[in-house]
Amino acid sequence: MTEESLLSDEFVRQLTAVGGVDILVGVPTLNNRTTVERVIDAILIGLVKYYPRERSVLINPDGGSNDGTTEAVQAASIPDFRTALASNPLRTMHVVSGHYPGVQGQVGALRMILAAADLLGAQACALVSADLLSITPEWMEALIRPVLKEKFDFVAPIYERHRFDGLLVKNMLHPLIRATFGYRIEEPVGRELAFSGRLASHFLEHDSGWQDFLRFGAYAWMTTTTMAGKYQVCQSFLGPRVEASKRSGLDLTTAIREIAGAAFHCMDIHESYWVSQQGSQDVPTFGFQPVLDLDPVRVNRKRMFEMFKSGVDQLGAVLEEILSPSTLQGIRGISKLDEKLFHFPDELWAKTVYEFASSHHRSVINRDHLLQALTPLYRGRVSSFILENLRADGQEVESKLESLRLEYERLKPYLIESWKQANVR
């Protein structure tokens, strides 16, 4: 799709006034008045501090905010650099706002940013969420430097997390993407990332399937499309990620529908790439990972276990359509265990995820229903993970997670067999 059809005339006029740029930072907004000002200040200060000689622009696609976000963006556009940096920028900092149809969600905003990057010939692009509380100017250096100076095409973030935070990523997305696509990326759906101008053009050329992705699924698409395109990938430490709308404003079922659905869909799109991949490779990592004492998170493990048990009991007929008899038998078996002895083995969990992916591929039932049926099983896995790691320190947890990732890799032939059966039927 050409960029002209994605951008309004007024937006193109503003971009034309900016001219060519070296760095483009995109900040999609939708009712983020309380946080956006600080986010934009941090970005602009970071750009001035680390890239004073580069031509930079901040693009703000807004989905139709009605809480004064647009005004807050304009107000944040002229920070007092003297107090922050004791110097002034060498070049004019541009902030360009435009509207995208809110119904397109995050995907509409991302397409607008990509089209702007293509039009302005940006060498490096970064995406930053507008509802961050923990962003610092150093994030700009961490994200952009690998692209601008080290010539990488894609920079994924690494966040500092509590051991019980981001459990869907740790137990499912990270090991699944690593086993299938062969890259050891910590955050396959990180929402702060950077990419090169040539990768932005590649995204634009291959964006015909974007309408199938919901909000955060587009980030999974960008990550996997980069890997499938064999671009240079790296990751960078950013520190803790704290956002104003806790848990991304998503309940668990919606998160699984969006993120797991996107991951499965990406496997469909890039099937020819991942089926032939063997093992996994490390990706270069930039920055320094501090050992922080993060605030503990509370998780109601007992309730999760009860919901797992009840889900397995109530959804028997649905699960029979998705899972193989042996996997379902295994799940039924562990659902009868006592809460204190409960254990969801790595092998059973990896097989469950793989069989869901294969069943999603051949649409054995409505795909949305299939993803909803995964939720109770994920609750069981989380309940087991927390029980096993209640007293574990960060290193022990990491070691167990590495075992899980290796289990996913070991079972990849099982996935391919199941996937190919799906193609034959």
Binding site: L168, I259, Q314, L315, Q372, A373
Partner: protein
């Protein structure tokens, strides 16, 4: 007097025997047509089923998603459905020809009425088929939503949704073929109204917790503040 009675009786007997003599061959012809029709229909069904399996009709429909739809509606495979339809169509045609061979005017009229009803009957079958599909789809959606919302009786809720949609589809189908039109519509209206009223009363009196959950879903910010008390992990 006796002679007159005997004469009348013998005339009546003669008339009946003539009728029987005339009717018996027709009855035999009808029976033969029925049997031949059944054999022809059965042979056609078997041959067609094998032919469709050889031609991989099921796989062709699977790629189009129809086999999956039929499975969801608890119906057999496309090849099975087509061969069964052919069997019944052929046999019913033979049966109509057979009944027509009896030469009974009243029956011929009924056959004519039946034939004129066939298009409505097909439409009613289609309504039932799509009703069954909708009932399966929405009852499963209700079951999953109820399980993930930790509702107390997910299966009951799901069965209720299924029952309601099927009731609606059956009513529409019966109404379509004009079977007890008034009775069906009135019965449906009464049942539906009673169910809704019962639900409203039950919801108002006993469903305070459910109402709270629905309101919490409607106003997630308030719910989130409550949930944060015991679960503040982010899964992403």
């Amino acid at each position: 007097m006796n002679e007159l009675v005997i004469k009348n009786l013998s005339w009546a007997l003669k008339a009946v025997s003539e009728l029987v003599v005339q009717f018996l061959p027709r009855l035999v012809a009808m029976t033969v047509i029925f049997v031949v029709g059944w054999v022809v229909a059965w042979v056609l069904e078997v041959v067609l089923r094998r032919l469709l399996l050889v031609l991989r009709l099921n796989r062709l429909f699977e790629t189009k998603g129809l086999t999956h739809l039929l499975t969801q509606a608890a119906l057999p495979s496309p090849a099975e459905i087509v061969s069964r339809i052919v069997f019944w169509a052929v046999w019913i045609t033979f049966m109509l020809v057979g009944v027509n061979a009896l030469g009974i005017v009243a029956l011929q009229l009924e056959i004519s009425n039946f034939v004129s009803l066939l298009p409505q009957f097909v439409v009613a079958l289609l309504i039932l088929f799509f009703g069954l599909l909708a009932a399966n789809f929405f009852s499963r959606a209700a079951l999953l939503a109820a399980v993930n919302a930790d509702s107390p009786s997910p299966r009951l809720f799901s069965s209720f949704v299924r029952f309601l949609i099927l009731l609606f589809a059956i009513t529409m189908a019966l109404e379509r073929i004009g079977l007890g039109r008034g009775v069906v519509v009135v019965a449906f209206s009464i049942s539906f109204g009673a169910i809704m009223m019962g639900l409203a009363i039950a919801f108002g009196l006993g469903g305070r917790n459910v109402a709270r959950r629905i309101l919490e879903r409607r106003f997630p910010e308030a719910k989130r503040r409550d949930e944060d008390k015991d679960d503040e992990s982010s899964h992403l």
